[in-house]
């Protein structure tokens, strides 16, 4: 099995010593994200997030299926993560690594379990038909901070996505194509976003958004997912060096600030995208005028 | 929950048991070469001292930027001059040079065997570290390499000595003495977690002068090999042609006789009488009982307990008492025997 190449002791010491002096490898502040870029695809529900060198693409797709019998009133929503060998030679298809399991678990808990998406709105006819929404998360380039980037990408894609409208007549449901009627946005109840803190120096020094090298040197991580209203959706600290509880509480405040910033950023990008699309719009298409 | 009411026990043996325990405790405390601090144990995370004059030994650590010594295992505290160490109640055997160990072959390589000696890592036994048959000390040849399985193959038991330790604490063994080599004609017993540690412990096998000895039983002589790693082998006494280990003297390698070398790597058991098999199992059960009762396992104790157990059985037979009255299993028997010994002297 290919394994991620270990970082050398010299590099390790260099990063640690620099951190003690208050300097990060790339000159960022301790609580700064790497430059975040978000692009939407031509189609609805495609989000491409770049966080420094890390790049994640999420695509949302929809299908109509029969709902599982134990949850008749709900639609289906699943998040599928895939680590392709394209991102890092350490990834192998078909054999989930620990990191992959953790990523999909965290996304599951952060987005699905916290009810970010109102799955009831995906129901077409109770017990018979519902929309099955699927978010495919593709890690295209890996340079640390996968969880944060994936979470941003999934939330942005969900907000960008439009599902086709349906007409229900008794037992019969007709799915209308996007030509016939404007597709409708999903009902998003809140926007959970993750912030991963890496800590060093026996839990005395915290970094936001560590890159791959910093991740390899860290003594542990704390993943905090919350929405901009200050509701924690999940906190994960899987072992690692112990930290003071007060620090943990302080991290919540830092996370809240970051989440607010990122939320604003996503919203701004969404607005820009909407404006771009609206410029054309159905009316423009219908008009007889052309560029000629 | 079902409540069962047991018949009241006779008061005398019960009291005696307690008394025996109490007096034994005192005795074992006197036996200790180092002054142990009381009878209570320390547990992980417990601060032993914050006085910087002490040095930390095994089983302790000093948290960064402090001078306090904290225990890392549950066990007894030992002081050796200014050195503080904690001996875990139970731990894997950690090999040391010169240890006599009993091991089992796990895998066979081209020029060496991997041997399970209950240590964190498998030990290795190089082909060059065994006595090759042929009677004289000779170089190992390519033929020996090809025939490696004729000496030891997977699952074989052997007794060996730790010759050297590698940096990561893996041991290299050797069997270059008549005392060592393949084990047969007997029974293997493992006392888990009872292997010798860095210090003398209260229970289990400890390093002592004589790890192998011969026990005289009614059915014949029985050899006992106490591996420091908690592996024990009990076998019918092999009547050696030469001057064997019975008189405690090593035989020079040059004087190895042809007859011995032929049987050296035999995988066939000799014929044994059922009576001696019975005695072998008895000894093995008693040793396990000793370990379970938290007693030290060495020659003296085993001889004493064995004699006591035989006596006890004879008595019970003559009185017509069914066995198992005093306690259940090996521990019960051992405790009963020890109790009698305390009463007797």
């Amino acid at each position: 099995m290919p394994r991620e190449v270990e970082i050398s002791i010299i590099e390790r010491e260099f990063i640690q010593n620099a951190l003690q002096e208050g300097i990060r490898r790339d000159g960022r502040e301790f609580d700064a994200f790497r430059p975040l870029e978000l692009n939407f695809g031509d189609e609805y529900g495609v989000a491409d997030v770049q966080l420094g060198k890390t790049r994640v693409i999420v695509r949302i797709s929809v299908d109509v299926v029969a709902p599982p019998p134990e949850r008749k009133f709900d639609g289906v929503f699943q998040i599928v993560t895939e680590f392709s060998p394209m991102a890092s030679p350490a990834f192998e298809v078909g054999r989930p690594t620990d990191a992959e399991v953790i990523l999909s678990r965290v996304l599951e808990k952060a987005i699905r379990r916290s009810n970010a998406l109102d799955t009831e709105s995906l129901c077409i006819i109770a017990g018979l038909k519902c929309f099955a929404l699927r978010a495919d998360v593709h890690i295209v380039d890996h340079d640390g901070g996968l969880i944060d980037a994936s979470c941003i990408a999934v939330m942005a894609a969900l907000q960008h996505f439009r599902r086709p409208d349906v007409i229900v007549e008794g037992e019969k449901a007709t799915v209308l194509s996007t030509r016939e009627r404007d597709p409708i946005p999903l009902s998003i109840l809140h926007q959970p976003l993750s912030v991963t803190f890496s800590y060093y120096e026996e839990g005395n020094l915290f970094l936001v958004d560590a890159d791959l090298a910093e991740e390899q040197v860290r003594q542990g991580e704390i993943i905090i997912t919350m929405n901009r209203h200050g509701e924690i959706c999940q906190v994960n600290k899987y072992g690692g060096a112990p930290v003071e509880p007060l620090d943990l509480l302080n991290l919540n405040n830092v996370a809240l600030q970051k989440v607010k910033d990122i939320s604003k950023f996503i919203q701004q990008k969404l607005d820009e995208d909407a404006k771009k699309r609206d410029a054309g719009g159905l009316m423009a298409e219908l008009s007889a005028e052309n560029a000629r | 929950m079902p409540v069962t009411i047991r018949a009241p026990n006779l008061p005398t043996p019960q009291d005696a048991l307690q008394r025996a325990d109490a007096s034994d405790e005192d005795m074992s405390d006197d036996d200790l070469p180092t002054a142990a601090s009381g009878t209570s144990i320390v547990t992980p995370g417990e601060t032993i001292t914050s006085d910087p004059q002490w040095m930390r030994g095994h089983g302790t650590y000093v948290p960064p930027s402090t001078t306090t010594i904290v225990s890392t295992v549950a066990g007894h505290l030992h002081k050796t001059n200014k050195l503080l160490s904690v001996q875990a109640l139970r731990a894997r055997y950690s090999p040391e040079i010169g240890d006599l160990v009993v091991g089992r072959i796990v895998s066979v390589g081209t020029k060496k065997w991997s041997v399970d000696i209950a240590a964190p890592m498998l030990a290795s036994l190089p082909l060059s570290a065994i006595n090759l048959p042929g009677g004289i000390l000779r170089r190992r040849t390519a033929v020996d390499e090809l025939n490696i399985r004729t000496f030891f193959s997977e699952g074989d038991l052997l007794v060996a000595e730790v010759q050297s330790l590698h940096q990561d604490n893996t041991a290299s063994l050797h069997t270059r003495s008549l005392k060592y080599g393949k084990l047969r004609n007997g029974l293997f017993t493992s006392l888990s977690g009872a292997g010798g540690g860095v210090l003398s412990r209260r229970g289990g096998v400890v390093r002592s002068k004589r790890q192998t000895f011969t026990l005289n039983t009614a059915a014949g002589e029985v050899d006992v090999v106490l591996g420091v790693n908690g592996y024990i082998f009990i076998s019918a006494h092999a009547a050696k042609t030469g001057s064997g280990t019975a008189d405690g003297k090593d035989v020079g390698i040059t004087r190895l006789e042809e007859a011995v070398s032929e049987t050296l790597y035999s995988s066939q058991n000799d014929d044994m009488t059922p009576a001696i098999m019975g005695e072998i199992t008895r000894v093995s059960t008693l040793i396990r009982g000793l370990a379970a009762a938290g007693r030290r396992v060495d020659e003296d104790v085993i001889v004493k307990v064995y004699e006591g157990a035989v006596e006890l059985e004879a008595e019970e037979k003559s009185l017509g008492i069914k066995g198992g009255e005093k306690g259940v299993g090996a521990v019960g028997v051992v405790e009963a025997v020890l109790e009698r010994l305390e009463l007797g002297g």
Partner: protein, 290 residues
């Protein structure tokens, strides 16, 4: 508690909100208010209605009470270390093998100068309310990962280079606080195995009795059982023995961040008591060797 078959029509529906797919799907206790409309509230306060009256929980405990804890050490003769732990009706059996040579000789620990900690968690078929085969799903994998990373940094693994320490946990009965019980059982078993660690790693769960609707009237609750876990936002906190330092913190439910503080405080307090209890078990066991 009576679970008279009062499964209201909307009950199934409510359930589907609360339950995540991976969780065993179970019968709920009857609703106190039968006509509860199909609200989309995150937490349905099943027990809080009685809780606010008597300040007693479903099983009669006060807010800061632990359940009955019964622990044994050295239960399996064949293992290097073993333990059995009950926290209320959650029952866990744990054995430690090692430090020993890894399963594949070629594939050694991640870092060559340290021992590797492997964790295997198995569920008994009869452990839940419904008999079902639980394959190793992601939730179990996550628990294994948590234990493995927590113990890798807790144990002094550098003393056993190249070797593997295997923790095998078997869950005999599930009634909430699973991860906490697994951590506590593992700590005992590792102590029994004589593997050096810097301190006890102990864990327990804490919840906030408040729902999103009534924020003033809230108490933190300690050591949850299964029903409480279904209904209330909770977290599992694992600390290093006597210090307040948090080694493991897992919160899987939506909760206001202001609540975190009280939950954490109660959880840490519970951990301290847990340490005393476990320490008592170890000391009691040690008396045999005195």
């Amino acid at each position: 508690m009576t679970t008279a078959g009062k499964i209201v029509n909307n009950e199934i529906h409510l359930q589907s909100i609360h339950h995540q797919q991976t969780q065993p799907h179970q019968l709920h206790p009857p609703e106190h208010s039968d006509g509860e409309p199909e609200t989309k509230k995150q937490e349905m306060p099943l027990d809080t209605s009685t809780y606010s009256l008597a300040l007693l929980r479903l099983d009669g405990r006060r807010w800061n009470e632990l359940r009955r804890i019964h622990a044994q050490i050295n239960t399996q003769a064949a293992a290097d270390g073993s333990s059995y732990l009950e926290m209320g009706n959650t029952k866990v059996l744990c054995t430690v093998t090692g430090p020993a040579e890894g399963r594949q000789a070629g594939q050694r620990g991640a870092k060559d100068n340290e021992a590797k900690v492997e964790v295997e968690i198995g569920f008994a078929g009869f452990s839940g309310l419904e008999r079902r085969k639980r394959k190793s799903d992601k939730r179990t994998l996550e628990m294994q990962h948590t234990l493995s990373t927590a113990y890798s940094s807790l144990l002094l693994t550098h003393l056993y280079p190249h070797s593997t320490i295997t923790l095998t946990l078997h869950i005999l009965s599930q009634d909430g606080s699973m991860l906490a019980a697994c951590i506590n059982a593992s700590t005992l078993a590792l102590i029994d195995a004589g593997i050096p660690m810097s301190d006890y790693l102990v864990a327990c769960t804490a919840a906030s009795s408040a729902t999103t609707s009534d924020s003033d009237n809230s108490d933190p609750l300690l050591d949850l059982n299964n029903l409480e876990e279904q209904e209330l936002p909770f977290l599992t906190v694992g600390t290093l023995g006597r210090s307040d330092k948090v080694s493991v913190l897992i919160c899987e439910s939506r909760v206001r961040m202001e609540r975190m503080e009280s939950m954490l405080a109660v959880g840490i307090d519970g951990c301290k008591r847990m340490r005393e209890i476990l320490d008592g078990v170890v000391k009691e066991y040690g008396k045999r060797f005195s």
